[in-house]
Amino acid sequence: MSATAKPIANTRSATGIPTARLITWWVIASEIVIFGGLLASYVMHRISHPEWAESASHTLTWAGAFNTFVLLTSSLCAVLAHQAADAHNGPKAAKFLRLTSLGGLIFLCVKAYEWTIDIREGFVLSSGGFWSFYYTLAGLHGLHVLAGMIIMLIVAADAAKNRELQRVECIGLYWHFVDIVWIFLFPLLYIAR
């Protein structure tokens, strides 16, 4: 088999679910457990440390809210990309995928600005339990946003030439997952008092 040819194993579908979508769901399932473990640790600590609410009050809630809006909007673009791919319109799907990753870029820029303010105020990773979880959770999520963006741009480059269009849906699924993780992080880190 040459480097690009696919094995027959890749083209079979005994379950009826396309193989690419199936593996995406498994990847998401394994990620859910990783974030789940970290979030559960945070929530249990948070319940036993009511004094962390004071630290949490220093977070920039408006920045988090704006980022929530950005991510949700970018997810809409991912859905539109999927729709275009279903209609076999690769270039259009690529355009929406690039818009989606632009959303990711805005998210990360706001995040960087926000962290700069936090750090200038003296709140760093080792400033206490809340801040440790705050940076770890948001940092891990941010890495997923970054990874999703990079993969999305690669998928978009193929899609623009009408190649591997089934990947548009998969990266979209992944992006929704990253989005949903943020939906959990935003209230737990910024709003909960």
């Binding site: 088999m1 193989t19 593996i23 498994w26 394994s30 640790s41």
Partner: protein, 558 residues
């Protein structure tokens, strides 16, 4: 498609080191795992020498200092679990057998498969590099409890601790990638006609193991990140003086750590199932019941973890609950063993080397299971937990899994992997030379444990209340038995290498088995099947009446 593409023979690098062929990747995992097993065995030799003959010069090592002793036991445990049992049982056998047993040409995602091995290799290199850094490799036990593991001032191996954590995290990533690939391949890429209950039990077991692994490892990956930050960026996730909680690590670790026991047990059980059916020429007794018990084990494995923490100061009411769940899990495991014994009953049993190993697995694992009852009950566990009784129990479960079942699988599939038979006489010498000393190593440790010998002590003479010179002969017996067992492994190595060239030619189906991997030449060519097979029946049709052969391969029409 791809199989028709004509191509030049690739060079050594592309063929053996950069290959996407599942069989080559299986060999990479197998040989890396075997090399790590030698390192892990060497460490066991060194610290057992210290315990058997305290503070004497150890040939091939030197004097064992207390700090070195800690590093040796930590590395022995970590290597044998993460870098021997998992790569060999799951990755090597899984990679080699999943596409062959399912009747397809490769994994669904061959390049993810290659990436999985490369990340695994990186984890090996990171771990080995910790042997060279200042302070040496990590010495805070394979469970890596904070605060011991979180602070270099306590474990005295600050760099080694961080490298260990990185290596373990990389290893997890490798197995997540590999496991997801295995699962997707099994769900989607089976040969036409192969229904859910036509899949060989071994494949079921490997997939269940991967699902259990995937569902349990996430919290520990999160915990590893937290511990890494505690070590390197002065956070206090596990530091009680700064609002953290050291018990949290134990929960995250054992939420993974106990399912991990079944992650390695299930593939071992699968290997044994395949071998028992072939060598008793009988259908597996209760194929579906084997699967139901495996699912029950998988489910229950998630609700037993705190039995590792009975001595860590958990709420006694919680200890009661976890005692009950722990004892419950022995029910499906026992049921599975009964099914295997029922398969043997009335069979036409052939005692070839693979069968000897499979039977030894059942016998030895049962001793491990029965002694586990004393540790699963919180009352007795409080006395026994920190003693050698636990060490002996653990090894009576883990050696059957990682050593005995692996030898069963290797001797059984060696003809398929390399095209030649292993020497039977050498195989039997190696078998008895391993199994008898294995019992002589660990039965004395049950006795010293009940007598009160604490684990994690490098020299009992240093502690007045621990000394018990009357037990020293048992400790020495155990060490000598280990030397005997290790020396018999050279018989296997010789047999393995010698048979590669000089073994009897195997042919496609030397054991007269029904599953699909035996329908292709040995070793299987690139792409596996000349014509991709169709499946007509279940995997264990032995002793079929009204046929010239006593077995009915899966791919032959009625």
């Amino acid at each position: 498609m791809s199989t028709e593409v004509q191509h030049a023979e690739p060079g050594f690098f592309r063929k053996y080191l950069w290959s996407t062929d599942h069989k080559i990747i299986a060999m990479q995992y197998l040989f890396t795992g075997m090399a790590m097993a030698m390192i892990g065995g060497y460490f066991a030799y060194v610290f057992r020498m210290q315990l058997g003959f305290p503070n004497q010069y150890v040939p091939g090592y030197g004097i064992v200092t207390p700090g070195r002793y800690n590093a040796l036991v930590t590395m022995h445990g970590s290597i044998m679990i993460f870098w021997v049992a998992m790569p060999v049982l799951i990755a090597a056998f899984g990679n080699f057998l999943i596409p062959l047993m399912l009747g397809c040409d490769d994994m669904a995602f061959p390049r993810i498969n290659r990436l999985s091995y490369q990340i695994f290799l990186l984890s090996v290199l990171v771990l080995l590099s910790s042997f060279l850094v200042k302070g040496g490799p990590f010495g805070g036990a394979w469970t890596s409890y904070p605060p011991l593991s979180a602070s270099g001032a306590y474990n005295l191996t600050p760099i080694g601790a961080t490298l260990w954590l990185l290596a373990v995290a990389l290893e997890f990533v490798a197995f997540l990638l590999g496991g997801i690939n295995f699962t997707v391949t099994t769900m989607n890429s089976r040969a036409p006609g192969m229904k859910m209950y036509d899949i060989p039990i071994l494949i079921w077991m490997i997939i269940l193991a991967n699902v259990i692994f995937m569902a349990s490892v996430g919290p520990l990956i999160a915990g590893a990140v937290m511990l890494l930050f505690d070590q390197t960026m002065s956070t206090g996730f596990f530091d009680p003086t700064r609002g953290g909680d050291p018990l949290l690590w134990q929960h995250l670790f054992w939420f993974f750590g106990h399912p991990e026991v079944y992650v390695v047990l299930l593939p071992a059980m699968g290997i044994v199932a395949e071998i028992i059916a072939v060598f008793s020429r009988k259908k597996i007794f209760g194929y579906k019941t084997v699967l139901y018990t495996a699912w029950a084990v998988g489910f229950l494995s998630f609700v037993v973890w705190a039995h590792h923490q009975f001595v860590a100061g958990i709420d006694p009411r919680m200890a009661n609950i976890f005692s009950v769940t722990t004892l419950l899990i022995s029910v499906p495991v026992t049921e599975m063993v009964f099914l295997y014994i029922a398969t043997l009953y009335g069979g036409s049993i052939h005692l070839d080397t693979p069968m000897l190993w499979a039977l030894a697995f059942i016998a030895e694992f049962m001793i491990g299971g029965v002694t586990g009852i004393f540790l699963g009950s919180s009352g007795t566990d409080i006395y026994l937990h920190d003693t050698y009784f636990l060490i002996a129990h653990f090894h009576y479960t883990f050696v059957p899994i990682a050593i005995i079942a692996v030898f069963a699988g290797l001797t059984y599939w060696y003809p398929k992997m390399f095209g030649r038979m292993l020497n039977e006489t050498l195989g039997k010498i190696h078998f008895w030379g391993t199994v008898i000393p294995f019992n002589v190593i660990f039965i004395p440790l049950f006795i010293t444990g009940i007598a009160g010998d604490q684990r994690r002590v490098y020299d009992y003479a240093q502690f007045a209340e621990q000394s018990r010179p009357a037990l020293q002969h048992l400790r020495t017996t155990s060490t000598i038995a280990l030397l005997v067992m290790l020396s018999f492994q050279f018989v296997f190595l010789f047999n393995f290498v010698w048979s590669l060239r000089s073994g009897k030619s195997a042919g496609a189906n030397p054991w007269r088995s029904t599953t699909l991997e035996w329908t292709v030449p040995s070793p299987p060519p690139h792409g596996n099947f000349a014509v991709l097979p169709t499946v007509y029946r279940g995997p264990y049709e032995y002793g079929v009446p009204g046929r010239a052969d006593d077995f009915f391969p899966q791919d032959i029409p009625d």
